[in-house]
């Protein structure tokens, strides 16, 4: 997380990563949130990289959110540690019609905490998303059960969503981004290093001394 100054308004960079089993709708959620689109064609994630969106929290704070998808590397549990670097918040996803995807939330959360190693795991900004509520008839995980799990893990906010019908997607992402921003001031006290150098195609050779 680092700050960028745009005149008087402060914009904070937030890295959000989306975790969960293959097929629960991670890419669809991301597309719905960032672009407001949904495709019925399922394709195991190819071509999804990361997407950016500026979020105005309405209280003078602006978040420059970049959402990172698993790029299909989760299929054989082969997400490398580099994927998790510098994550400010995490969206844990499951499919309400797939019990196994809910049961695996525990290991996704554990893996995230091991790889990221936040100072205070209990208060790290997670959000749990139960996706595909448009398929209510096939529901296998009750809302009650999901909420109990979230409560037991330090009161993680829980949202039931449909990426297809655009239900609750915006609210879920906004909540986790706001919670990440609320932790920002505290994190800033500890992080007084100069920002790393970013290799952007746009501003090569024009960058001033960054050291």
């Amino acid at each position: 997380m680092y700050n960028r100054n745009y005149s008087s308004r402060r914009s904070t960079y937030i890295k959000a990563i989306i975790l969960g089993d293959s097929g629960v709708g991670k890419t669809s959620l991301m597309h719905q949130y960032v672009r407001g689109t949904f495709s019925t064609q399922y394709k195991a994630t190819i071509g999804a990289d990361f997407m950016k969106k500026d979020v105005d929290l309405g209280d003078g704070r602006i978040a420059e959110v970049s959402c990172w998808d698993t790029a299909g590397q989760e299929r054989f549990q082969s997400l490398g540690v580099a994927f998790y670097r510098g994550a400010d918040c995490c969206i844990l996803c499951f499919d309400v019609t797939n019990m196994r995807s809910f049961e695996n939330l525990e290991s996704w959360r554990d893996e995230f905490l091991i790889q990221v190693g936040p100072r205070d795991p209990e208060s790290f900004p997670f959000v749990v998303v139960g996706n595909k509520i448009d398929m209510e008839g096939k529901r296998a995980v009750s809302q009650k059960r999901a909420m109990e799990w979230c409560a037991a893990k330090g009161n993680i906010p829980y949202f039931e969503t449909s990426a297809k019908r655009d239900i609750n997607v915006e609210t879920a992402f906004r909540t986790v981004v706001k919670n990440a921003m609320d932790q920002e001031t505290e994190a800033d006290i500890y992080n007084d290093f100069p920002d790393p150098i970013r290799i952007d195609a746009d501003d090569q050779d024009t960058q001033s001394c960054a050291c």
């Binding site: 190819i46 790029a71 299929r75 580099a82 670097r85 150098i197 195609a201 960054a210």
Partner: protein, 502 residues
Amino acid sequence: MSDYTLDGQEFDTVVLGTGLVESIVACEIANSAAADSDEGRKVLHIDRNPYYGGSFACFSLSAFIEWATTFRDCRQTPFVEIVVAGGGGGVSGSEPISFIINQTTTREECDTKKSIAAALQPFCSGSDASSFDMKTCEAALSLLLENDRKYAIELAPKLALCRGDMIDLLIDLRIGEYVQFKGVEHSYIVHNGKIEKVPESKEDVFASKTLSLIEKRKLMRLMTVIADDDECQKLMDEAAQSSEQDFGQFMQSKFKFDGKLLDAVVYSVARADAVHRLGAAEGCERVRKYVRAMGRYGRMAYLCAMYGGGSELAQAFCRLCAVSGGTYILGEHVEISQKDGDAGFTVKTSEHGTVKAKSIVMDPVYDPEAVFEKDNAVSRAFCILDRAILGDDTTAILCHVDGQSATSLLYLTQATLAVPSGQSILYAWSPGPLTSDKRVQLQRALYDVSADATSLFTAYFEVCDAKCASKGYFGTGAPDSLVDFDSTVQRAQHIVKCIHQG
């Protein structure tokens, strides 16, 4: 989650090993294909270990010990010597404990000081062996392991030239955002145990208190020639004609450099290693690249990737490969067979079925019959220091010159998140097998730079280069001893070219 099977699938290329070269190859093949059409070339990328990076891997402290005791390929790295400071930093004042890990054991969890001490015990060496005390060893490890995951220990540290092939490739592929860098702010040369700053810019040359006026003028002349395209070309042409001279002799005759100034140009800028002969033309080309690199992202010539360069970069390329449709499996073993008269290969994976592949790219350690080139090895060492001897928020590249030997050193701190705050890590490496002389050379280089600090954890090992026995595979090889990534990128791009040509 492991229900997925690949059985019966056909891939264009199966890549074995996730070292930097293999990862760039996998990425370039998948990415170039994806750009051409929807149904591009299919890549299956496998690593037999549960981590990315291969011989460029980056580890927490406990994971490094696990690499030494379990994952290391004994043909490539016959032994690892580890020295743990007594009492984890001289707290209790006990003697350091040394281990020579000369074989690997089956995998056991190495995640507590107790389990690590138990894993190390059989390898305790020297006079400690008979009197090995588990409690002392655990105590020695405990301070280090408190911050276990704050260590990013690299098997083969390298830097990116600001205007080099690695940065160009990241920009080309638009994945600059995957990896964060810090500038390598300082360059030092160590003579007779004395550390001196190498001037890195015209301003530095003017401000230098160690250079005489005449030396300043000589150095300025070189920099002016290199900075001017025509003059530089003339110099390169002249160097190309002086094939009987090595780079040092050429600099001596052309610019009248001598003594420390000559060493700074030959070792700190052109990064000669005193093992391989550095020709005049090659040396001039390296100086040109170095000078060209300065000023792009600040005044320094090199960038250092945060969290451990080669491994982070390998993962960036793997991610882009996955984004372009590549399939990834870690911790998977394979057997390859080829039927007579059949163009392709059959790859049997340990957990996910049997697939077909048109071509195979591999780190030669995956070939059971690989030929290991003992003489073509790189000796490597590092020590974790209890103090940030050269500054707490900085990165430095050093060169230790000692008679006929030269050792490259890299100093990293919390600036690149390589160690916990207040500590530092110093890497030293030199081409050639780890003989007792070579070990002394590395030890002296580490010691001369870190004399004021206590080494909490030191390791020495060699990594041999290897070639595949079968000509049917595209073999990569072990990381070389050069400081920058350019040769690594070029190696990968050469393989990609060969594959595209069939």
